[in-house]
Amino acid sequence: MTQPSFFRHSVVPVLTVIAVIVAFWYVAALFMNHSTVVAEAQLKGLAFTPSATWYRSWALDKPLLPAPHQVIAELWKSTAGLSVTSKRSLVYHGWVTLSATLLGFLLGTLLGILLAIGIVHQKVMDKSLMPWIIASQTVPILAVAPMLIVVLNAIGISGLLPKALISTYLSFFPVVVGMVKGLRSPETIHLDLMRTYNADDLQVFTKLRWPASVPYLFASLKVGIAISLIGAIVGELPTGAAAGLGARLLSGSYYGQTIQIWAALFAAAFLAGILVLVVGWSESLVMRLMGARPERRAA
């Protein structure tokens, strides 16, 4: 495939859709903020011309729906415009959230892999644990997150770890499910071949099962990193709005700072995008190092 057709096939449609969304957004902002503008005009005893009303509804301080450029301006102001250590800097809050996300993701991945190894090798673990692992995810842990944090605070565990534990709880699940599938993915022929080599369990694991499970692992990691971030953000909601993107959301909603809420949302979306991309890149890197042929892009 040549580069221009990739451009025409993917970039142009995506950009078009985004452009339509942005245009729609501006129009929506016009209508949703209209009453606020009118009220403001009445309060000040001014009569706005229609064009001034339009302009004003895209420039309010606390609009019902801020216009995209307001959000971007706020994002710029709170990232590049402030020093990184400032309490109002989104970089600072983003870092707080990111560190909890990464720690939780790491712990969850490790736990998931260990559980999967146990489940694949021990029939008893498979029978007894697997149904509970699935049931564990129907517990709305995000709903419990605030309580977990308060409880852990009460016994002296505070700061990064409680949030990370919520991310762990969320992210271990896709890893377990994916890795159990992946570790069982080698075909019978290959397992039989290992038998003819007189390979022991450890050798079968390191030379056959583990390499075969790597694609499954990365598929799970992509899901896991996304929900780790969600876990970390929700985990920040009850901590008295101290720090992190979740705290930013909550304080924004307390004080009606809509632009701040939207900026925090955009920052979270940006973070999610980066994290998923990084996992995707490391996947292609690992696959290449393992000798997989580069995938051809389908037409």
Partner: protein, 289 residues
């Protein structure tokens, strides 16, 4: 005293583990008993967890604020049934179910529409995949601002949360029918509607059910978390946050228990429906393996 406790805790763990191992071996030896074993082993494991929980919290006198014993939680729940019922109606029936139905329905319809245009497909699917990875619960404060404190704002969040997984999965499902079958439909001069009904939709059901299952947990979580940002004076999320503020942990656990049971039941109903609808799918079909 502590020694006795430790022995009891260890004894229960070892005893039930041994029983599980024994049952699994029994299941291997007797194929007739396999169904029973598949049911009994996870149940036993659950009983062990709860027994250990009770033993540890009672035995070591864990303060109730940290972790109440299962019996205490059950007692509190039994005394607060009307409250629990009210919360369930508000959070599960009004917020979660309505948002779930609208979100999944819209996602499905959007997928059908997009399916007709290659351009839209290429433009929307990457975005849909991206949005699925976003922390959408974050829009809860905005929804509360727009739609008020009651269930409508929660339903709006859930619509947004469930829309994109449904869109992406349905789209993948509609593309799942093979070229051969599609060509066959063309030779029959099948209309778009015929092709949808007889080929594409049946092929898409496993994907659609996948989205329905993912969304069932999302909907419940969304409803509860959205209530943290503002709710009328009832609802599971509201109760969890206020009872936590009053350090009434047992009630919080009771709500969590109810939510877990509801979540599992919701998931179970959809899984059962899936077995009915996609009876032909290899993962449902019996006799293989």
């Amino acid at each position: 005293m502590v020694a006795v406790l430790l022995i009891a805790i260890l004894g229960v763990a070892l005893g039930i583990s041994w029983l599980c191992v024994y049952l699994v071996h029994l299941g291997e030896a007797l194929p007739a008993a396999r169904r029973f074993v598949d049911l009994a082993v996870p149940l036993l494991f659950g009983v062990m967890l709860i027994a250990e929980w009770e033993l540890v919290t009672r035995g070591f006198g864990v303060p109730e604020i940290l972790l109440p014993a299962p019996s205490v939680i059950l007692n509190v729940a039994a005394n607060a049934l009307p409250t629990l019922w009210e919360d369930v109606i508000q959070t599960f029936v009004k917020s979660a179910l309505s948002g779930y139905l609208v979100g999944c329905g819209l996602g499905f319809l959007a997928a059908l529409l997009i399916n007709r245009s290659d351009f839209l497909k290429r433009g929307l699917l990457p975005l849909g995949n991206f949005v699925s990875a976003l922390p959408i619960v974050g829009v809860a404060p905005i929804a509360v601002m727009w739609f008020g404190f009651d269930w409508q704002s929660k339903a709006a969040v859930i619509v947004l949360m469930t829309f994109f997984p449904m869109l992406v999965n349905t789209e993948a499902g509609l593309a799942a029918a093979g070229h051969m079958e599609r060509d066959l439909m063309r030779t029959y001069a099948a209309t778009w509607g015929d092709e949808m009904r007889r080929l594409r939709l049946p092929a898409a059901w496993p994907f659609i059910f996948n989205a329905l299952k993912i969304n069932s947990t999302l909907a419940l979580i969304g409803a509860i978390v959205a209530e943290f940002f503002g709710a009328p004076t009832y609802g599971v999320g509201f109760r969890i946050s206020t009872e936590m503020g009053r350090m009434n942990t047992a009630m919080v656990w009771a709500e969590i228990g109810v939510a877990a049971i509801l979540g599992s039941a919701f998931y179970g109903v959809i899984a059962l429906l899936e077995r009915r609808v996609t009876f032909w799918h290899p993962s449902v079909r019996k006799g293989q393996r």
